[in-house]
C-alpha cells in the first residue's frame, strides 16, 4: 500500500473544503435519545433483569452441613484456600508471579485475615449457646498455637481420609475442634453467622471480604457457580445468571482461560500463575488498543482491507473516486 503523501496528510488534517450538506446535529441527537429510551423501556418491560438471591451461610448449613463443618475445620487447621492465600490477606504464601515480578507479595497484607479467628472463633464467641461451646472456646483460646495446630490438623486429616463422611471419622486427639465446628454449623443454621461475620469490629460495616472468602473455601459457592454456568473454564466472566447477557465485552479476557497453558493449573509457570499472566496480557492489549494509530501493520489494515469503500460508497460513487493504487 502506498504511504500517504504529505499533501494527503495535510488534506486529512485541514478543515473540509469540499461539498457539504445540511445536518441537524441536535435533531439527530434527540432522535437517537428517544430511540434508545424507547428500546430500553421495551427491553426492560419484556425481559426484566437478572437478580438471583444471594447465597447465605444459613442456606449452606441447611443444604450441605457436612461441607460447612469440614470447611470450618480447614479454617481452624489453616489449610483452607483463604488461610493459605497470601497477599493481601496474609503471608501464608508469596502469591502469584510473572517472572521476577512478585507484585502480589510486594503489595503486602492490607486486609489482614486470620481465618481461624475471623471465620470461626470470633463469630462463635458472639453466640455461646451451650456449656459445650463455652468450654470448647475456652480450651481453644488457652491453648498454644502448636496445640491448636495439632488438634485441627489431625481432625482435618481424618476428615479428608474418609472423604468428608463425618460419621466415619475415627476417634482421636482433636481437642475442642469438633465442638467448635459443630457450634459454628449450628450457628449458621440459625441464621446468626451471616450477621456475625459482617459485623465484626463495629456497627457500620460495608466490607464483605470475610464472608466472600469463607464462602469460597467450601463447595457451596463453587457448586452454585457451576450450576449457573459461571465457571471461568466455560467463559464464566461473560455469562450472567438466567437467560440474560453478561459482560460480553470481557470476551477477550475470558478467552485466555479457555486455552492451554492458561487453563491448566498444573502447567508451570504460566498455568499456575494464569491470573497474573492474563492480567499482564490484557494490560498490554489495552495499551495496544489506545496506540493502534502508531502500531505498524495494524494501523495500515483499514487501507489494505477496503471495508471503508463500503462506508463511503455513496460519496465515492458521487465523486467518481477510485481506490488508491497499491
Amino acid at each position: 500500500m502506498k504511504a500517504p503523501s504529505d499533501s494527503k496528510r495535510a488534506f486529512d488534517a485541514a478543515p473540509w473544503k469540499g461539498p457539504t450538506k445540511r445536518y441537524d446535529i441536535v435533531k439527530e441527537g434527540t432522535i437517537a435519545l428517544v430511540f434508545v429510551v424507547v428500546l430500553t423501556i421495551i427491553l426492560s418491560l419484556f425481559m426484566g433483569s437478572p437478580d438471583d438471591t444471594p447465597l447465605t451461610f444459613k442456606g449452606w448449613a441447611i443444604s450441605n452441613p457436612d461441607n460447612l463443618y469440614a470447611t470450618t475445620v480447614q479454617e481452624l487447621a489453616g489449610t483452607s484456600g483463604s488461610a493459605t492465600y497470601g497477599g493481601p490477606y496474609d503471608n501464608a504464601s508469596s502469591g502469584l508471579n510473572v517472572g521476577p515480578l512478585w507484585l502480589q507479595k510486594w503489595a503486602g497484607v492490607t486486609h489482614p485475615i486470620n481465618s481461624a479467628n475471623d471465620f470461626v472463633i470470633a463469630p462463635l464467641s458472639t453466640q455461646i449457646t451451650s456449656l459445650e461451646i463455652a468450654n470448647a472456646l475456652a480450651t481453644w483460646k488457652s491453648a498454644t498455637d502448636t496445640q491448636r495446630h495439632d488438634w485441627a490438623t489431625a481432625y482435618d486429616d481424618a476428615i479428608t481420609k474418609v472423604e468428608g463422611k463425618l460419621s466415619d471419622v475415627p476417634a482421636g486427639a482433636y481437642g475442642p475442634v469438633p465442638a467448635l465446628a459443630k457450634g459454628l454449623t449450628d450457628m449458621a443454621k440459625d441464621g446468626a453467622l451471616d450477621a456475625a461475620l459482617l459485623s465484626q469490629g463495629g456497627f457500620f460495616q460495608t466490607d464483605n471480604t470475610k464472608q466472600i472468602l469463607f464462602f469460597g473455601d467450601g463447595s457451596y459457592l463453587d457448586d452454585a457457580g457451576t450450576t449457573a454456568n459461571l465457571q471461568g473454564g466455560t467463559w464464566g466472566m461473560m455469562n450472567e445468571t438466567g437467560r440474560y447477557p453478561g459482560q460480553a465485552w470481557l470476551w477477550l479476557y475470558s478467552f485466555w482461560y479457555q486455552i492451554p497453558p492458561f487453563n491448566n493449573e498444573e502447567s508451570k509457570p504460566i498455568g499456575a500463575n494464569a491470573d497474573a499472566y492474563i492480567m499482564y496480557i490484557m494490560g498490554v492489549l489495552s495499551l495496544g488498543l489506545v496506540l493502534i494509530p502508531i502500531i505498524p501493520v495494524i494501523k495500515t489494515l483499514p487501507m489494505r482491507i477496503p471495508i471503508q469503500r463500503g462506508i463511503w460508497r455513496q460519496y465515492y460513487e458521487t465523486q467518481g473516486i477510485k481506490r488508491r493504487k497499491k
Binding site: 488534506f11 486529512d12 473540509w16 469540499g18 461539498p19 457539504t20 450538506k21 445540511r22 445536518y23 439527530e28 441527537g29 437517537a32 434508545v36 428500546l39 430500553t40 423501556i41 427491553l43 426492560s44 418491560l45 426484566g48 437478580d51 438471583d52 444471594p54 497477599g87 493481601p88 502469591g95 502480589q104 503489595a107 503486602g108 492490607t110 486486609h111 460495608t206 471480604t209 469460597g216 452454585a224 449457573a228 459461571l230 466472566m237 445468571t241 447477557p245 459482560q247 491470573d275 497474573a276 499482564y280 489506545v290 493502534i292 494509530p293 494501523k299 483499514p302 471495508i307 471503508q308 462506508i311 463511503w312 455513496q314 460519496y315 465515492y316 458521487t318 473516486i321 477510485k322 488508491r324
Partner: protein, 207 residues
C-alpha cells in the same frame, strides 16, 4: 487585557472551538453512512445509564430487590448498559476501519479507546454492587486477578462499600470527563475525510 488568563483562555477557545464548530448545521458530504449514527447512540445510551443510575443511587443498592419500581429501574440500567456496549463496540470498529486517527486525530482515537476501557471498569464495578448471587460470584472470582497484580491491596472487589462509591462517583466522573473531551475533540478536528479522497478530488464549490 490580553495578559489576563481568562482572556487568553476565552480567545483560545473561540479560535479552536467556535460555537459554529461545536454545534454545526452542516457536515461534509461524505458523512452519510449508518455507521456515523453509533457514536450518538452510544452517548444516548450513556445518558440513559446515568439517568437510571441516579434513581438507583438515591434509593440504595438493595432497593430493586423488593420493589417493582426498583426492579424496573434496575432493568432500565441493565439494558442501557448492554445497548451502550453494543453501540460503542460498533462505533469503535467503524472508526478503526475508517482509520479515523488520520489527520492529527490520534488524541480523538486515544480518548475514545480510554473511554471504552473506563466503561469496562465502570460496568464491572456495577456488576459487583448488584447485591445478588452474581455479585457474590464475580467478586470471589475476580479478586484473584487483581490480587495477583497487587492491585487488590487497594482495589478490593469484595468490599461492597468501596465498589459502590467507585461505581457511582469516581468512575462515572472519569468516564464523563473522557467522554466530554472525546466529543469536543471530534467537534474540533471534524469528521475524518474518506481514505481514498485526495486533495485533487475536492473542489472548492462547497455547499
Amino acid at each position: 487585557m490580553s495578559e489576563m488568563w481568562t482572556a487568553k483562555l476565552r480567545n483560545k477557545w473561540q479560535k479552536e472551538l467556535p460555537i459554529e464548530k461545536l454545534l454545526p448545521d452542516d457536515q461534509p458530504a461524505y458523512v452519510g453512512s449508518w455507521i456515523y449514527v453509533f457514536g450518538v447512540l452510544t452517548l444516548s445510551a450513556l445518558a440513559m445509564i446515568i439517568f437510571s443510575g441516579l434513581i438507583l443511587a438515591f434509593e440504595g443498592p438493595a432497593w430493586y430487590h423488593t420493589s417493582d419500581a426498583g426492579k424496573f429501574t434496575n432493568s432500565l440500567h441493565f439494558w442501557s448498559v448492554q445497548l451502550f456496549f453494543v453501540f460503542m463496540v460498533i462505533h469503535l470498529w467503524g472508526k478503526f476501519w475508517m482509520a479515523a486517527w488520520r489527520g492529527n486525530r490520534f488524541a480523538t482515537w486515544a480518548t475514545g479507546a480510554v473511554a471504552f476501557i473506563a466503561s469496562i471498569a465502570t460496568a464491572f464495578t456495577g456488576y459487583l454492587v448488584q447485591t445478588n448471587f452474581d455479585s457474590q460470584w464475580i467478586s470471589f472470582e475476580a479478586k484473584d486477578g487483581f490480587n495477583s497484580m497487587g492491585i487488590g491491596a487497594w482495589f478490593n472487589v469484595t468490599n461492597l462499600g468501596q465498589m459502590l462509591l467507585l461505581h457511582v462517583a469516581f468512575l462515572p466522573l472519569i468516564l464523563g470527563v473522557i467522554t466530554v473531551v472525546h466529543v469536543l475533540m471530534v467537534r474540533k478536528r471534524g469528521v475524518v475525510p474518506p481514505i481514498d479522497a485526495e486533495p485533487s478530488s475536492v473542489s472548492e464549490v462547497g455547499r
